[in-house]
Symmetry: none
Subunit: 209 residues, 4 copies
């Protein structure tokens, strides 16, 4: 993705700060001045290194995906030796953990969720790089449980049904925080939520198979 990036520290600092700030404030509310100040670089640096605020955003988005995948690889769920039911549980637990990570890494998924909810021109690249592989992995698991071909409509629909249950905790977090805060209160609660999604989805898949 970021093939043409010089490896200068100012450039990198700018990129990391941009992920955080864009994730926190959104594209419009984030200001170039704020990003530069937080990155300890000159105000003109964004235009110098990235040509424009918009270009910085696109790069930051690509960087966020790259980092999210580097830091949260779905290794266990890819193990073809495990039974698909167990792989499903691992996938969901891992994916939900990534989404709800409120540490520094949380910025990555937050920025991505923003981009999906309000796509810009940058989305198409991103889908190919980061979403398609996740979809492929989950497709593989579902297809084995349902015992149907990869490209069947049912597999695709079940894929969305399962993905959506995880994504809700990101997209509708504001609602969950207000109505059902106990479901994401701490790590144990999040693990229980992952377990529920797994059981709910397994029961559904078994019933539909």
């Amino acid at each position: 993705m970021i093939s043409n990036s010089p490896t200068e520290p100012a450039f990198d600092r700018l990129l990391q700060v941009a992920v955080e700030v864009f994730a926190h404030d959104g594209f419009r509310d984030a200001t170039v001045r704020d990003i530069c100040a937080k990155a300890n670089v000159n105000v003109a640096s964004v235009n110098y290194y990235f040509r424009s605020k918009e270009a910085l955003y696109a790069q930051a988005l690509a960087f966020a995906f790259q980092e999210a995948n580097r830091l949260h690889p779905q290794d266990a769920a890819q193990d073809q030796n495990l039974p698909p039911e167990q792989r499903l549980g691992l996938f969901i637990t891992h994916f939900l953990g990534k989404l709800l990570d409120d540490s520094q890494l949380g910025f990555h998924s937050k920025l991505i969720a923003r981009e999906i909810a309000e796509p810009t021109k940058a989305l198409d690249d991103i889908i190919q790089t980061a979403i398609v592989p996740q979809f492929a992995l989950l497709t593989d698991i579902i297809q084995k449980i349902l015992n149907r071909p990869d490209n069947s409509l049912l597999v695709r629909r079940c894929l969305l049904s399962i993905f959506s249950q995880c994504l809700m905790f990101k997209h509708s977090r504001a609602v969950i925080d207000r109505l059902y805060p106990e479901l994401i209160a701490d790590e144990a609660a999040i693990a229980a939520s992952a377990e529920h999604i797994t059981q709910f989805s397994l029961a559904a898949l078994k019933g539909l198979a």
Copy 2:
């Protein structure tokens, strides 16, 4: 674009245009000048009728919920004489229809989805007036299928599992449009998607009961 029938009072025209523009551009990118121009009123009208851009947004949001509920009432799903399984199907079909309505009303759900993804101060009011009733209705249906008390954690989690499958078509529409466009190609496809969510969820609920 809503037809700006000049007979309509300026206040109403402003409100309808605001829903459109805020849905399309978001709060920050939308400009008062643009809204006023599209509504064929003076630039000062927003401040005259609504006191501020922020207050206009809050009113537009409330109006969007009101309109969405008025045009897609959940009457059938509330019928206590029907079996809960059928009520669930009706609820999902209606809810998905409301979310994917690309006619004039599509703006309403788009604006609402934006607000949930990036909450402003206006969200709290909205949750109470518009979301809580929907949650209550679905809770009633689930609780009857599961035969569990209203407030059990399981009921709440299943509620989110079902809601999320519908909401994904709104929040992640950009992804679906690109990867699985056939699932929302036309009204028949949407109906089939609703049917899938219903079957998936019913199988899950039966399995968990």
Copy 3:
């Protein structure tokens, strides 16, 4: 002055409120809306009754002078039977009391002080109506103490010297409030200040005579 004023209650209320608001906020900071709201009349009333905000100001100024003179006549100081030294004391006490009156009447002198510090076109009329008579009265007193003709330069200069000591409490009140608040703390303090000005001025006049 206000010969063409209709005697309607709305008109009068507007005028009285205008004196207060202009005195408190100044011409620019005062808003027509605020004045109309406080006077319980329509927003358009100012333009209807007075043609413009500026014209309302001019009328309010004239009204303030008229009221100030009507409510604070310098009767005692005009008594030719009293010795001029006593008349000087009466004049100063009375004048200072009028200037420092913080009750409703205080608005009149505050508005007038504003006009003198930052004159508008309205000032010339005002000087003839309200200031000249005061100057004449004080001139008469001084001239008798100094035993000089009315129009001597010395009389004029002493007039200003005495007037200025009183006016300072109005024009530079902000400074006095901060550095010597004890000089205007209460009615007794104000009376003592008047007494000082009288003694200071009498001593000066005696010395110069």
Copy 4:
């Protein structure tokens, strides 16, 4: 109009123009656009250099005091070797000269007089840095003539009596211009006025001592 020598830095030009414009129009009526236009700089410069219109005003006020004191230092009046009666005369002459300086510097005292008549948040700072020293100097002189302690009420009252006679030429200049223009017609007249204030005050102080 100050000569906008283009060699001067934009910051300085802005400050000098601000003194002029604020003195002429007052804080509210003065516009940032006008100031920038007169200073030949961009409209955004005020916010760039001074953060806000209000901050520019505060700086302009401080600058006015600084300039007024730099150009009219009270050196002679501070000379402890001179008799206090002579020092009083020097102080009054200098102070009145500063107030009535109609050259370029007239803007300074006009701005200051405005601020005292209609104080803003900026006044408190100004009092400490600019007024207190003047008061201290005059207090020293008066106390020596009266032979009383610095902090006696009488000294304070006499201080105000003397100050006020000078200030009147600033605050009530509009009235003097119309009724007694001969008192400030030219430099000689002003010197005569200063002489009068000195004699009047000395006679008073002697009488009260």
